[in-house]
Symmetry: C3
Subunit: 260 residues, 3 copies
């Protein structure tokens, strides 16, 4: 069992440390792993994309908490999703959309005030539910003191702007750039499985065709290429350079795979 | 029991990791929680403000270590403060001023060479007492192998530039902006309790009056407002925008609460 | 026993968290300490310099993993170095050069596919060996389930661009600036021991002579000086200012110690 944390809290402020205090008090011996706290402020889909890519690397029983929560204190719900033996806790603002769409058999629940009260998760501030709700709730779930289905009624999470890549009527697959990583790699919503449908897949960005390689080393120095990355997602990369800069690409840009 | 760390060491250099090595060697199973290591270089009051806001979130017995220490290797003392069932370890340079001022019943001690020698905390460098003194001392305190009062004579910590907000002769409360967080919220030294003395509190920054709301969601998009944040402090915020930028406000700026 | 992590993965992306997932799954109770993940992208020598400076602060049995790996997926080897009772795991790209050169009695081995297969470290991606090889291998080594010598044949690691400072024919010692830290201190390859050979050592940078002091406090405000830092290395520093900026110095710059 372990807990992962994803947020837009950043490293400058102590908000992550305060969440950990609440987790440690309820689950003293549990490993807590930071995925990232540098999600773009108020960009829940970015957090959701990272979780979508990362969760297969974690064992069954892992509880993933993601707090990118511009609507904190307002009417938005909190959702708990059970999928693939793992549990996801997040505000219901589209953050979990990609995971819901891609995980068959997932079941989601809307967390009720009564369930929180039974877990002694109260009182709370109007501005920091990461501390007051998400952290203690994750600890209770990770310690198996409560099941997701006991937290509230079944619920369909909001889908969010990021959708899984999909086959078009002309046979091509259309996806989007979801995030740019530290190296300037542009990570897309197109899966390795989607490329499996092509005899000779070609990757298109605007008018440009990118060569599909297996490793960064196969590219010429600074050449922009496409490859299947370690999360089994299509990624635009440049050898020892920033593909995002060289291709002038931002999140949201459309990427196509076509038959070559 | 747990230890928190606060410093201006940043994430680029391995200084925090080295402190943790020293803590783990003396207290192998103790949780160590990072509050922040991105305090502005050589700004002890900023570290002190975060500790002041955060420490109520930690359980009794927590040991907080804060190292923002431009005077390392010089004549400055090291101070250990016992307050509210928790322990604070810091250089005596104003860092603990706000906590001392606000915690009734706190007792502080100046750490002596003899006490350190008895704990086998020696020898040491002239430039990195975080590693050589603060880390092992925190481990010994957190494991309850020594009491603050055994570390040296009673001592009055230096007050520092940041003071608690105070009522003025005209009935208003005068505080200052202490830090700007990642979201551009401007956190002040004015407590929720201070607002309790007003029938209809108004928040004034220069000539401007800010509306007092309960949650970020109550503000109109990008409107600058004031609210009581999750640390029970008055905060200037803007909905999904940077209040610091919109109000052109930096740490040190005066903020008033007046009767409306 | 503990594991340290050093990389150029940064804090924005979840790559470090994913490595930790793999470590925790094989070594659940072992402390994992981050040295830094903000090494300049694709600069293995910078990671190697930090490891060289930090490893004496860790106890025997520590396993240090360093992943700055532009050649991932290509022909570069993975090397395990046993030196001073500690173990270092890194790509064979010069990262370990400084440690090999300075640690007498170190023994290095090239990790073979067969050894990895015996440890059930397979299959793997072509782009993220930090997750697929380095993390599980470090866990196995730290839990003492395998010895370095069992991982493959003896191997001489690539030396890398950074070399230990050396005495010149004119009696001076020539070193280089290796990294600039957060404070703007310029850390060099010259050891305290090297200065021991001089009656009145003088530090020269271009035509300029820097005063040798014991603590930052001995310098006048903003004065550029040289001192032996907490890692016993010669460092160029300025009191409460950036020496790197004031001296306009970058990594690679030559620094001399001469008889005064």
């Amino acid at each position: 069992m372990m807990i992962t944390l994803t947020s837009d809290f950043g490293a400058r402020d102590p908000y992550v440390g305060i969440m950990k205090s609440r987790i440690v008090q309820r689950a003293p011996l549990l490993p807590v792993i930071d995925l990232t706290h540098e999600v773009t402020v108020f960009a829940p889909e970015e957090a959701g994309y990272w979780l979508y890519c990362c969760h297969p690397q974690f064992p069954a029983g892992t509880v993933h908490v993601a707090v990118v929560d511009p609507g904190v204190g307002g009417a938005r719900s909190i959702v708990v999703l059970e999928a693939g033996g793992q549990v996801f806790v997040a505000p219901d603002n589209g953050l979990l959309g990609l995971i819901v769409q891609s995980c068959a058999g997932g079941r989601a629940y809307r967390v009720t005030e009564q369930a929180l009260a039974r877990l002694d998760i109260a009182p709370r501030s109007a501005t920091f539910h990461g501390r007051d709700i998400f952290a203690p709730l994750a600890a209770e779930l990770a310690c198996a003191r409560i099941e997701p289905a006991q937290l509230g009624p079944p619920h369909t999470p909001l889908p969010g702007r990021l959708r899984c890549a999909a086959r078009q009527s002309d046979g091509s697959v259309l996806g989007t750039v979801a995030v740019i990583d530290r190296y300037g790699n542009a990570l897309t919503t197109i899966t390795a499985a989607a490329l499996g449908g092509f005899a000779a897949p070609q990757v298109r960005l605007d008018g440009r065709t990118l060569r599909l390689v297996r490793t960064y080393e196969e590219a010429r120095m600074h050449e922009c290429v496409a490859l299947i990355n370690s999360s089994s997602m299509l990624e635009l990369a440049a050898r020892q350079a920033s593909a995002a800069q060289q291709l002038n690409v931002q999140p949201g840009r459309e990427v196509y795979v076509v038959e070559g």
